[in-house]
């Protein structure tokens, strides 16, 4: 069949080319890749040592056991580390102007953009810099503010938590560092945009330190260059809040739908400090995130607003922990998730209260809206309370969109799709009502609206 011949040749050519690319030019997550990555960065010895240890630990570790409670609902057999490469320098910078979603109409105080773990933009207003605010790459900070970084880095992220955490620690690149000095109030939000190209890797670590009496708002989003993009994110977030500090941290995860996302995202909240953490997850093929907030000083407070929306065959697993380690603290976690197509979300929450954490007020809730027959939501709330004078409540609901609601809306001229979209957005409204940043509410509303499908 002569007509097929050119195609055959072309496909051969393409295959050869891609093999050559991976075998000769792109470093793997192995010893050669590790040496190449560390050779390319200049950093303090303590950090080099930390990486080295983490790399050795990663090599000694197995992938998580499927039988363990932590992974029993999340199947990672499709994940192959060998399909990804360690972060490499970009050959050409893709157009990213339209990718960021949280910046519309926002007067930013500074911004950092990374593409495949490479810093492509790093700005901070002169005014904030003059006040002593540091907002730069983690690698620069490790040199310029070595002791500050050393004191806080991995103070709550555990590099030995699992092999993903160890690999993150060993191969970390392109991370961001924010430091807000004592009593400095940063009014303008700071923006972090982490971007993945198709097939790229992101190992960024975000370290945020808010000193006593200081305040800041950080908008952090994770996007791929297109919604179908493959990629790997081995991530870490650490939010360290000293006494009486106030932080609003927003993270919007919209990786491409062939991307793997493994991360620990943790906060330490000091005495009288408040944290409002909005976390939205709509991207990736598979996500496994451990989110925790430790309330370590008296009267610390945190509010977590979680939004998950899954489609196709996505699997998003969020394990959250609100850990009361001091008395008189409040934690309020509300996660709302909608699932469509054959997707699945897992939410496993835990309120943990230490023996000394009397007068704890802990609230934990997960509501699910299952939009198709084949979708699934696992919701596992939990309590582990060792103090005797506490108020802890938890709950979870899982429901389907009610056909009677849809009929009612259609009787008012709404199409089925419009009705479904409205009901789904309404479902998330309770979360939006809690978010005080308009651009975040708008972006989340848009992101959710985009994703609602046509249902028959």
């Amino acid at each position: 069949m002569p007509a097929a011949a050119p195609l055959h040749i072309k496909s051969n050519h393409f295959t050869d080319h891609s093999i050559k690319m991976t075998s000769t030019t792109l470093p793997a997550f192995d010893a050669t890749g590790f040496d190449a990555l560390t050779a390319g960065v200049s950093e303090p010895d303590w950090l080099k040592q930390l990486r080295r240890e983490a790399f050795e630990h990663a090599n000694a570790m197995q992938w998580p056991e499927r039988r363990s409670e932590e992974w029993i609902r999340t199947d990672i057999r499709t994940f192959q580390l060998s399909k990804f490469h360690a972060p490499v320098a970009l050959e050409t910078k893709p157009e990213t102007d339209t990718i960021h979603q949280l910046v519309d109409g926002v007067d930013l105080g500074g911004r950092i953009e990374t593409i495949d773990s490479q810093i492509t933009q790093c700005e901070l207003s002169d005014e904030l810099a003059a006040k002593g605010v540091v907002f730069c790459s983690l690698s620069d900070a490790a040199k310029s503010h070595s002791e500050l970084v050393r004191e806080h880095l991995f103070s709550t992220f555990d590099p030995d938590h699992d092999r993903f955490a160890a690999l993150h620690t060993a191969f970390e690149k392109g991370g961001q560092f924010l430091y807000v000095p004592k009593n400095v109030v940063v009014e303008q939000p700071l923006h972090i945009g982490s971007i993945l190209t198709d097939g790229g890797s992101d190992t960024t670590h975000t370290l945020i330190v808010i000193e006593e009496g200081a305040q800041a708002t950080v908008l952090h989003e994770y996007n791929s260059v297109d919604s179908k993009a493959a990629g790997l994110h081995l991530g870490g977030v650490e939010l360290i809040q000293k006494a009486n500090s106030h932080l609003r941290y927003v993270s919007l995860q919209e990786w491409g739908h062939k991307t793997y996302h493994f991360a620990q995202q943790k906060a330490l909240v000091g005495r009288d400090a408040t944290l409002q953490w909005t976390i939205a997850a709509m991207g990736s093929q598979l996500s496994k995130v451990n989110q925790s907030v430790d309330l370590i000083g008296k009267r610390a407070e945190c509010q977590v607003n979680g939004v998950m929306f899954t489609e196709a065959r996505q699997h998003l697993a969020y394990h959250t922990q609100q850990y009361h380690r001091a008395p008189d603290c409040r934690s309020d976690f509300l996660y709302k998730s909608a699932q469509q197509d054959q997707s699945r979300s897992v939410w496993r929450g835990m309120i943990k209260v230490d023996p000394g954490a009397q007068k704890t007020d802990g609230y934990q809730r997960n509501d699910n809206l299952v939009l198709s027959e084949a979708a699934r939501a696992d919701s596992i709330p939990g309590l582990e309370i060792e103090a005797d004078d506490v108020r802890c409540t938890h709950g979870s609901t899982t429901a389907k969109v009610d056909e009677e609601q849809i009929f009612y809306a259609r009787c008012r001229g709404f199409t089925r799709k419009e009705a479904t979209r409205m009901i789904v957005i309404g479902f998330f409204q309770q979360i939006f009502d809690r978010i005080s940043i308009e651009s975040v509410r708008d972006a989340l509303g848009d992101a959710i609206a985009r994703q609602v499908r046509e249902y028959d």
Partner: protein, 271 residues
């Protein structure tokens, strides 16, 4: 042109159970029809079948609006064509504000060709209209900020349905017990509001047990449904008779329909 809603020989089943067994009814724009009948006779079924509820299967007969086949229309197309029903038990839609819901609904109905995502009625214009209509209905503006029927009392739900009637200005409206569950004052207010908004301005099909509503909205026609059929049609004096004396005469006069009605009630009780 006078709009006409025409129902001919309508048979409707739920599952394999026949509920309506040949209903004929023609409503001209501007007319008020009362639909009365004992419980379980099929009154709400007629309303839901006209709107196109997916649980109600039309096994025979036709419904047309100005000659157009209503049965061929999607539920939302019927609404946009000008058919409205005030629900006996409207659904709550948590997280969706009444004002937003009504702005979408009003735009959809006023611009039937509107595609999703196209512009809505301008906010200022809509707000003004909504505010005017709400004050006319003696409703607190705060109501517009509440989520649709979410946590509403029975009376609030009925008033919200009347507000929707006022905003959507349909050609034909089916009011399914819009006066039930209300105290005397609320019934009077609802009756006056409906008279103000709809009487002689729409074709009204009023399903009711009360005489208050009909006092304010005197029907040109009263239909009595029994066992899924309209067994008798008269003027407003028929409604008055039924209010005073109940359905005893009707039940005795139409034993077949009464038997069907008892059967349907028994099945409803089992379900």
């Amino acid at each position: 042109m006078t709009h006409v809603l025409k129902i001919e020989n309508l048979h409707v089943s739920v599952g394999d159970k026949p509920i309506l067994r040949g209903v004929n009814l023609t409503i001209n724009h501007g007319e008020t029809h009362a639909l009365m009948g004992p419980n379980g006779s099929g009154k709400s079924t007629l309303g839901l079948a006209i709107m196109g509820h997916p649980g109600y299967e039309i096994t025979e007969g036709s419904i047309s609006l100005d000659g157009e086949d209503v049965l061929e229309m999607e539920v939302n197309e019927r609404a946009r064509a000008g058919i409205f029903m005030a629900f006996q038990r409207p659904m709550a839609i948590p997280g969706v504000k009444m004002a937003d819901f009504l702005r979408h609904a009003s735009t959809n109905v006023r611009r039937p060709d509107r595609k999703e995502g196209e512009d809505l009625i301008p906010m200022r214009e809509f707000r003004k209209e909504l505010k005017d209509k709400m004050s006319h209905l003696q409703m607190d503006v705060e109501f517009a900020r509440r989520y649709v029927n979410d946590g509403f009392s029975g009376g609030e739900m009925k008033r919200a349905e009347i507000l929707q009637l006022a905003m959507l200005q349909p050609k034909f409206a089916i009011l399914d017990e819009t006066d039930s569950g209300l105290d005397a004052d609320a019934v009077r207010l609802a009756s006056e509001s409906i008279a103000d908004i709809g009487h002689q301005k729409m074709g009204l099909l009023i399903i009711t047990h009360h005489d208050k509503l009909l006092e304010h909205n005197p029907p040109e026609f009263t239909h009595v449904m029994l066992g899924g059929r309209l067994v008798e049609t008269g003027g407003k004096e028929l409604a008055e008779e039924l209010h005073q004396h109940g359905y005893e005469r009707i039940r005795n006069a139409y034993p077949d329909a009464e038997a069907a009605n008892q059967e349907m009630l028994a099945e409803e009780a089992l379900a």
